[in-house]
Amino acid sequence: DVKVTQSSRYLVKRTGEKVFLECVQDMDHENMFWYRQDPGLGLRLIYFSYDVKMKEKGDIPEGYSVSREKKERFSLILESASTNQTSMYLCASSWGGRIYNEQFFGPGTRLTVL
């Protein structure tokens, strides 16, 4: 079974702190994604990566950055956390290729910024 793990289920940080959210997948997937999930808005793509050291902006990249130094690990970084970044963050991974490949999701990290 594909397993996508996220470093924390719940996280509480203060405004202005630097926050790291870690995601690891064990299926050698090429693609990895970071979404945020908010009530009534569904999932919105923050960043994605097709390969090591490659990254592409999603729909809402402002205030976030990412890092992919190893194929299995994709980190989301909040350089200076703000209260409007309080949300559920979901990581996903999938095989690469031109046809659609199912995305496998981690359990999510619920981040609260005070």
Binding site: V4, G40, G42, Y50, S94, N101, F105, G106
Partner: protein
């Protein structure tokens, strides 16, 4: 621009009753459509997908969805729901290379 609409944010239904969760999409090109389910305190799981071929697709737990190109819809149905079907359901549309647009979600609550 491509988009996904789920008109019902919450759907309460009694156990063993039928249910339909509505999804409409907007796209000027060929589409791939999906339904994902999110059980409480879990990540999303793929429920079913339409890529091509038969317009009626089924999942292993009794859900089905029908792709209707003329009505730009991909409604999810189940003839008899169970308590364990209580979850958030997301309709999604594939856009460019491996990028997916999700709808806002429908919360299905099954009442005993």
């Amino acid at each position: 621009a491509q988009s996904v609409t789920q008109l019902d944010s919450q759907v309460p239904v009694f156990e063993e009753a039928p249910v339909e969760l509505r999804c409409n999409y907007s796209s000027s090109v060929s589409v791939y459509l999906f339904w994902y389910v999110q059980y409480p305190n879990q990540g999303l799981q793929l429920l079913l997908k339409y890529l091509s071929g038969s317009t009626l697709v089924e999942s292993i737990n009794g859900f089905e969805a029908e792709f209707n190109k003329s009505q730009t819809s991909f409604h999810l149905r189940k003839p008899s729901v169970h308590i364990s079907d209580t979850a958030e359901y997301f309709c999604a549309l594939k856009t460019s290379y491996d990028k997916v647009i999700f709808g806002p979600g429908t919360s299905l609550s099954v009442i005993p």
